[in-house]
């Protein structure tokens, strides 16, 4: 991967061109018609979610499909799914930074933004899903008149700290990378009122070699911490299930397999966002087919690991021969939700295999289909993890199927709208591609071309 010129078109070898391409629209440009339409649509979709959440708060969780046995349903699946998507950004910025991958430069900023938005949205669900959401703060340790503290043995409290730490850590990491670019925006001549705000948040950044050295040092330190952190976050989400004794949940493979699954769905979302951003913001010169190709390879690898994980899960049921596990396996493939099982295998394991072909790795339609397939497949997986186990537990007398309601779908849809809406706003406020890193890359590429 030494060939830096693969990741940047020569038109972007000039620093001014890079700055103009990225900072220009933010400082001088007005939001286009397409942007306004997208904002209105996403706002409307968000509104649906807000109304559905309002209905849930007004009348109670009974508005959802949850029942006495399947006490968890869409809200928890949404939570796990969103937090999974929120994993790829940090992977790209931390792990690829440590391994000095040049292709991270163009995509890490929006991937990190995606992480922060997705984790924030994921963090809403543990509150939304509560029976009495107004008391969510009881999960936090504070000196109260009851003399009570949270239950540190609960995976939900682990979640609370994992999400809180991960979200704030990602925010700091994101902001750290943003500082030099904010300085660029601050210094650019233009009509935007935002320049004062950019200036304040740039904290007086000058770009002296001493500042750069501290900046790079902290970025590496944080990358070293972020990599295990991001793995632990999704391991803990896996422990929500694995630390129980229910059939289909109590599996030691869950934490690693949740981590892989998270990267998987995150990369799928990155691919979709990359496709949108490069055409919408005209950044084809910086987000190259080679980037897509690299992401597609990641999807291929992760998809294959998913297949391995599923296989090991099924095999362990067959191997131990535990009645409840076998029944669970049989139900997965022949029961009411078996359609979702096959959809999950198709989306998560089979579709990514298309990426063995280099041509397909660079084909936009194929990328869209596979990424969407992965996102759906991963959602099916999340819902199956919850519903299979809870629908057919140990006691046949308590077996109950789960049927989501319109409110359930509306809340899920609404969070999608919120994600898009927030992303659209961000795209007008911060540079979605890190300018200083592209400049650095351009310098290397220039040298290579010469």
């Amino acid at each position: 991967m030494s060939d830096a010129a693969r990741w940047l078109l020569p038109s972007m070898f000039d620093h001014k061109a890079i700055t103009d391409a990225i900072a220009g629209p933010l400082v001088e440009g007005k939001a286009g018609k397409r942007w306004w339409i997208a904002v209105l649509i996403s706002l409307a979709v968000t509104g649906i979610g807000v109304i559905a959440t309002g209905i849930s708060f007004a009348y109670g969780p009974g508005m959802w499909g949850n029942n006495s046995a399947v006490v968890w349903g869409f809200p928890i699946a949404n939570y796990v799914w969103w937090i999974g998507i929120g994993n790829a950004g940090t992977l790209i910025s931390a792990l690829l930074l440590l391994t000095r991958q040049k292709w991270r430069n163009a995509i890490n900023r929006f991937a990190e933004a995606m992480t922060i938005l997705a984790v924030s949205i994921a963090g809403l669900f543990p509150i939304i899903h509560l029976g009495r959401p107004m008391y969510f703060y009881w999960m936090a340790p504070y000196p109260n008149t009851m003399g009570l503290w949270p239950q540190w043995r609960s995976a939900l409290v682990w979640d609370f700290w994992a999400i809180l730490s991960y979200l704030l850590f990602s925010l700091i990491f994101f902001y750290l990378g943003l500082i030099p670019d904010l300085a660029t925006l601050r210094d650019r001549e233009g009509p935007s009122h935002w320049r004062r705000i950019w200036g304040a948040f740039a904290l007086g950044w000058q770009g002296t070699p001493a500042q750069w050295r501290s900046h790079q040092r902290l970025q590496r330190v944080m990358a070293v911490i972020a990599t295990p952190l991001v793995c632990s976050v999704h391991s803990i989400v896996g422990l929500d299930f694995a630390a129980s004794l229910m059939p289909g949940w109590t599996e030691s493979v869950f934490p690693p397999y949740f981590v892989v699954g998270a990267y998987f769905s995150g990369f799928a979302m990155v691919v979709l966002l990359a496709l949108v951003i490069r055409s919408a913001l005209g950044l084809e010169a910086m987000i190259r087919p080679a980037h897509l190709d690299a992401c597609a390879k990641m999807l291929l690898a992760a998809g294959s690991v998913m297949l391995l994980s599923y296989g090991s899960e099924w095999m362990s049921a067959l191997w131990t021969g535990e009645a409840a596990d076998l029944r669970f396996l049989r139900f997965s493939f022949t029961g009411t939700y078996s359609g979702l099982t096959y959809g999950m295998i198709l989306g998560n394991c089979l579709l990514p295999q298309l990426f063995w072909s280099p041509a397909l790795r660079r084909s936009v339609p194929v990328l869209v289909i596979v990424s969407a397939g992965v996102l759906f497949g991963m959602y099916f997986e999340r819902i199956l993890i919850i519903c299979n186990t809870l629908s057919i537990g140990y006691e046949p007398a308590a077996w109950t199927l789960y049927v989501p309601t319109l409110v359930d779908f509306a809340i899920l849809l609404g969070t999608g709208g919120l994600f898009v809406f927030a992303f659209l706003l961000l795209s007008r406020v911060i540079p979605l591609v890190p300018m200083y890193e592209i400049r650095e890359l351009a310098e290397v590429a220039k040298g290579e071309v010469r």
Partner: protein
């Protein structure tokens, strides 16, 4: 009377050459600015060195304190029989401190960075120099100290190194 010789460079190589020439000539470098990370010698190493240690120390301290807090709440403040588990279930008590420690390390590192890199100075005198503003987007900038009378030499030296633009500023 002191003055500053300020030169802009279009690329990193010329910038490095300018710095090298200034060094050779024994000129005092007042300021360097680059639009992306450029390491020049050991400049800033002293400033950056403790950041990693501060981050790690902050993280570890927070994690240990948090663990101690958990131990206190679970075994001293209000001990509960929770499913017959031991009061001090250290295995699971480790999880939250690890997560929180990572966050604390990030916060400590960020604070260390802001302090060590002398940030939050929004009205630094350097911002009065027009070239510095452009350094954040395209140009590399060198500012050398000089007297009003040897200004011409310094400018020549910088031009020789490949400066696309240079000028004298008198204070």
């Amino acid at each position: 009377m002191t003055a500053l010789a300020i030169a802009s460079f279009a690329d990193e190589a010329a910038f490095r050459a300018g710095v090298a020439k200034a060094d050779e000539a024994g000129r005092r470098v007042v300021g360097l600015w680059s639009p992306y990370p450029v390491e020049i010698g050991a400049i800033g190493e002293e400033m950056a060195a403790p950041i990693a240690w501060i981050a790690i120390a902050g993280g570890l301290a927070a994690a240990f304190l948090f663990y101690g807090f958990i131990w206190w709440t679970a075994t001293q403040s209000y001990p509960f029989d929770s499913g017959g588990r031991p009061l001090h279930s250290w295995q699971v008590f480790l999880i939250a401190p690890i997560e929180f420690g990572a966050l604390a390390a990030g916060v400590a590192g960020m604070i260390a960075f802001i302090v060590r890199a002398r940030l939050t100075r929004l009205h630094h005198p350097a911002f009065d120099i027009a070239e510095v503003e452009r350094a954040s987007s395209e140009h590399f900038v060198i500012a050398l100290a000089c007297d009003a009378d040897d200004g011409g030499d310094v400018l020549a030296l910088l031009a020789d190194a490949g400066a696309v633009h240079s000028r004298m500023v008198t204070r």
